[in-house]
Symmetry: C2
Subunit: 122 residues, 2 copies
């Protein structure tokens, strides 16, 4: 992919099949556009300094916060403010576009076997 | 709209009808998520220091660059790198999500009657 090509989201999602492993599809200023396929429940975590945008492209995402759940269908986004604990849960396969600083780790303040530090570019 | 609400893109686009007047629908770190309805041809301009992401939500956008055109359908995005002249053209009404720094002016290096300096939040 050249930085000067357009990205078709459906085609980009078709290029990978692993879950919970964000892929970089674009770079805009100090942020990355990332795509990930989600299925099942992720861990509770937060990003101390970074807001994180979740835009659902396919499927349904339940974004659990400590005080309520945000239910996202395709064409809906939510921005998790920095410092807010959240836990993404997808009962069925769900495709999500993320927008977040280049420094953001998928597991935020938690580093464990689900942490993906080196992201593939697709 | 509270910063802690989700945004449904179709519902947000239904809240305004003017063209070429970006509305702020979200704030993520140092960037705004903006929505705009486009119809007709805009001016040639560039943003010296800012990359600008165009994601087409509805309709078709021709993003003219000096050396080629980028044709965007719904579910496709293109990131115009800083310094690159571009001219959005929509033969029919087109709905676009933008992601760009809070400092970005819609007309970039050109300030004229199409410049919108004070953006409405919807």
């Amino acid at each position: 992919m050249s930085a000067m090509d357009k990205t078709n989201l459906a085609a980009a999602f078709a290029r990978f099949s692993d879950f919970w492993s964000p892929k970089i599809v674009g770079e805009v200023n100090d942020a990355y556009v990332k795509l990930a396929k989600l299925k099942g429940a992720f861990i509770w975590h937060k990003h101390e300094q970074e807001d994180e945008l979740f835009l659902v492209v396919k499927g349904h995402l339940r974004l659990r916060l400590r005080d309520r759940d945000i239910e996202l269908d395709p064409g809906e986004f939510f921005i998790v403010p920095r410092g807010v604990e959240h836990r993404p849960v997808a009962d069925e396969e769900c495709h999500v576009l993320f927008l977040e600083p280049k420094t953001t780790l998928n597991t935020g303040n938690v580093v464990n076997e689900r942490t993906v530090a080196d992201l593939e570019r697709i």
